[in-house]
Amino acid sequence: MRLKVVLLGEGRVGKTSILFRYIRNEFQEKQQSTLQASYMDKRIKVGSVDAQLSVWDTAGQERFHALGPIYYRDADGALLVYDITNSESFTKVRKWVKELRKIVGNDINIVIAGNKIDLERNRQVSEAEVLEYAKSVGASHFYTSAKQNLGLEECFNELATKMVAQNKAKFAGGVAGLGVPKGGKSKLVVVDDTGGGKKSGGGSCC
């Protein structure tokens, strides 16, 4: 099962570091290697399901904000990253959530990550506020630190579990999850269900 996860967050909140740490388990304070870290694949097991996460990093600068939909369309999940030492970055999270709900709809699973928890002493975003907000939009919240490798597995596992559950529900009863084009999403499955609800009799090969 291939699942698309889009990484959203303001510039320099640590999206790239999270990706690096999570996929390759690397962290470099003075990032010297110039390996690209913007698209990565990760295989993950959720219960009995083998899922392949395609993680899409996005450009976080404000000037590119309007281009967001190009990246997050078709996404199964979004990891919204903010920097706990930067309240502005959390404001941005609210904006993303609104936008995602508006454009992708309620199907997209959202996990919010408060990054740089290792810098707790510089915290500027109040925990209560964050948790309440997350709850209100139906998102999970985690604290993470790419530097200390904290919370990342949990973050992605939670997201993957949600996505897998949702996809399973979507495809349940469908003729075959395999052949259903991803782009069409749930609508297409519905059509399939009503059209040929029984077993595929013929012409299923194409």
């Binding site: 870290a37 450009a59 590119f64 090969c205």
Partner: protein, 720 residues
């Protein structure tokens, strides 16, 4: 040097010729390339109205040439680049004789003139691309047995049927025929006539008439055969579409004998069309209970021998041929040197299965050196007596050659040639061929499957069936500013092509899975199935896309004219104001030229998409900063590349084209990601990061205003 120039005269032009033909069919009109700047174009348009006939445009032929050159390069298909031959050559186990893995489904199938004993292998298709030049005889791969299984137990496809039509004294049977070489096809039926009553349908392919194959016969001949029957007529027919596989059932009648080698009772005559001065090779012979008249005797042992035409009866006339006196020869590998063209031709012929291929060896110097280095070994082979135990020594020889080819830096075609020879002699491979060869092999393999008549017909039918808005309709839509309609059409046509290619891909992937995995297993570096799939897909889309390319470009370019123009307008100002992040501020000249060469220039959309990934890698290499490159950086860098002209003047259309042809399964993956990045970059330039409603209106006004129709129709314009 010489090898390079040889590249051009040799096999490569086959594919190109073939493609030209394809192109010509659907594309009589040449197209403009994107190179012209806008003003220039508008001016031309003014003179030409929207006439598509752009004979005056100087750069057209160039563009076509380069298109073809690109295709040629991308195809890289030449007889000597076809390592896949080994696959079908190796299909019947080398020492097996008459035992065939395939059921004997067509006992009396061969045409009566064939002097050979009937081959039990039911399915064998030969395609002659250039009948005039025997060295260009292609033998498409024998269909692997797994493919056959599908064919013979088609899950949903009907077999071909035999229709028996009883007729009284030469009454007409009520059908007209047409010949679509090499098929005889039912053109029309007389309502209520015997043929219609018998279940024949328009479009059926007749494989046999009264038990005699119809492959390649003329219309007159086929009519004569039918009308000469007095009491009944047996027609073996099959529906063309949508049941392509059923065609294969009767494909035995499609066999055409190989040219270049002829069997004259126990002797082999090998024609040297090129006036060879040297010839020699290896022959595999079976010895044992050779039945003289039976024809199906089973030799008990197989030997391999080297022979040299100088020591055989050899007639050194320009179109020479010579006879070999080997009894029960099974297979030959024969080398000839054309002294004039300085090239070697290696031919292989399998007597039993009648599989024949030949291939020019390019990179002659390497080959000569190889021969020299092998001097000592060669000598020992010459000394092998005819009755000696030659097998192990020959194996040793081949192994030695193998090692040499793999360890020295030889021309790739030598390697692929070797793969064939190895396979022909059933010498196991233990050394990895260069990885790039796998892709070449895959595309050659696929391409040769596509060359089979059945697939040719299939492709052609698809191309014929697809409906594309005509030039006039496009003009009307543009006049009425219904560009969305054009966009929808582009998506529909592109989608149909993509799906059809996907279907064929699945067919080949399933049917030839054993072949493909065999090919795959020769490579030590693991290659994912998706790599194989996308290579197969790519090859399929070549003939498909080539045929429809101009139509699709026309739809897309006209459909997305407004954003394209906006981008052109925005570029100069953005160029001065837009800056990538500090650590990414460099010229990126390599990345720009990489984008040009690998995204903008290539013809196939799938190549363009791959090109984007390659550019992302070049960016990584060219990057001089120390921080990790991240999405925050890639997007601005791509914007920079496009601002600097890397994507040509129709970058919006370019992106849309790629999006249409991006396969579903790639959408969420790496290809989808990088395409999205380019899309975002283009979008950024289009709207300068802002809302653009007003500007869009402005452009529309402009397009509708003074220049109105002239500028409106963004003409043809390849996205290539």
């Amino acid at each position: 040097m010489s090898s390079v120039s040889n590249d051009d005269n040799n096999g490569n032009n086959i594919s190109v010729d073939d493609l030209i033909e394809l192109e010509n069919k659907t594309e009589n009109k040449t197209e403009n390339k994107t190179e012209n700047n806008l003003e220039n174009k508008t001016e031309k348009r003014r003179n030409n109205d929207y006439d598509e006939d752009e004979g005056g445009d100087g750069d057209e032929s160039d563009s076509d040439d380069s298109d073809l050159k690109n295709l040629r390069e991308s195809l890289a298909l030449s007889p000597s680049d076809l390592p896949v031959d080994d696959l079908h050559l190796s299909l019947p186990p080398s020492t097996s004789t008459s035992s065939s893995p395939l059921p004997q489904s067509h006992p009396q199938s061969l045409s009566p003139s064939t002097p050979l004993p009937t081959s039990p292998l039911g399915l064998r298709l030969y395609t002659t691309l250039k009948a005039s030049n025997p060295s260009y005889v292609y033998t498409p791969p024998l269909l692997p047995s797994s493919f056959l299984n599908i064919v013979q137990h088609p899950p949903e496809l009907p077999h071909s049927e035999i229709v028996r039509l009883e007729i009284e004294n030469k009454t007409p049977i009520g059908l007209t025929l047409r010949v679509q070489y090499p098929y005889v096809i039912v053109h029309s039926l007389t309502p209520g006539g015997p043929a219609e009553k018998g279940g024949v349908k328009v479009g059926d392919v007749l494989f046999e008439i009264n038990g005699i194959g119809t492959n390649g016969i003329s219309l007159e001949e086929s009519v004569k055969r039918i009308s000469s029957s007095s009491s009944h007529i047996l027609l073996t027919h099959s529906r063309l579409l949508p049941h392509p596989l059923s065609l294969l059932l009767s494909s035995h009648s499609l066999i055409t004998p190989p040219s270049g080698i002829e069997i004259i009772t126990k002797q082999i005559r090998i024609y040297n069309e090129r006036g060879s001065m040297f010839g020699g090779g290896v022959v595999e012979v079976g010895e044992g209970k050779g039945g003289e008249g039976g024809g199906d005797s089973v030799p008990e042992r197989i030997y391999r021998r080297h022979y040299d035409s100088l020591t055989s009866s050899f007639h050194p006339s320009p179109s020479s041929s010579f006879l070999l006196n080997f009894k029960h020869a099974r297979r030959f590998i024969h080398t000839t040197l054309n002294v004039y063209k300085k090239e070697y031709v290696v031919s292989c012929y399998d007597v039993e299965s009648r599989v024949f291929w030949n291939s020019e060896v390019r990179g002659e110097e390497e080959f000569v050196r190889l021969r020299e280095e092998l001097g000592a070994e060669r000598k020992s082979i010459f000394q092998i007596g005819l009755g000696g135990k030659t097998k192990s020594e020959l194996d040793k020889f081949i192994k030695k050659v193998t090692t040499l080819i793999y360890t020295s830096n030889l021309h790739p075609s030598s390697v692929s040639l070797l793969l064939k020879i190895q396979s022909f002699l059933s010498t196991p491979t233990h050394l990895p061929p260069p990885p790039s060869l796998l892709l070449t092999s895959l595309s050659s393999y696929t391409f040769r499957i596509l060359l089979m008549p059945v697939f040719q017909v299939l492709l052609q039918n698809f191309l014929d069936s697809i409906t594309i808005p005509k030039q006039e309709e496009i003009i009307v839509k543009v006049k009425n500013n219904e560009r969305e309609g054009l966009q929808r059409e582009a998506k529909r046509v592109g989608g149909e092509i993509r799906e059809f290619a996907e279907k064929i891909k699945r067919l080949i992937m399933q049917g030839c899975s054993s072949d493909l995995s065999l090919l795959h297993s020769r490579f030590l570096t693991p290659v994912s199935e998706s790599t194989i799939a996308s290579e197969v897909y790519r090859t399929i889309s070549i003939p498909l896309y080539t045929g429809l390319r101009s139509s699709i470009s026309r739809l897309i370019v006209n459909g997305y004219r407004i954003p394209d123009v906006l981008i052109l307008k925005n570029t100069p100002s953005l160029k001065t104001t837009f800056k990538p992040p500090k650590h990414c501020q460099q010229t990126w000249s390599k990345s720009i030229s990489n984008f040009k060469n690998n995204v903008t220039t290539p013809i196939l959309p799938s190549d363009k998409i791959n090109g984007i990934i390659s550019t992302s890698k070049v960016i990584e290499k060219e990057y001089k900063g120390t921080e990790h490159l991240a999405a925050d950086d890639y997007l601005p860098i791509f914007i920079h590349i496009i601002l600097e002209g890397g994507a040509g003047e129709r970058c919006y259309s370019l992106v849309e084209l790629c999006k249409i042809f991006l396969r579903e399964e790639e959408r969420l993956g790496e290809k989808g990601y990088w395409l999205a990045t380019v899309e975002a970059a283009v979008e950024f330039i289009r709207c300068k990061g802002e809302e653009v409603k007003e500007e869009e209106e402005e452009v529309k006004d402009e397009l509708f205003g003074k220049e109105r129709l002239e500028g409106l129709l963004a003409q043809s314009g390849f996205l290539g």
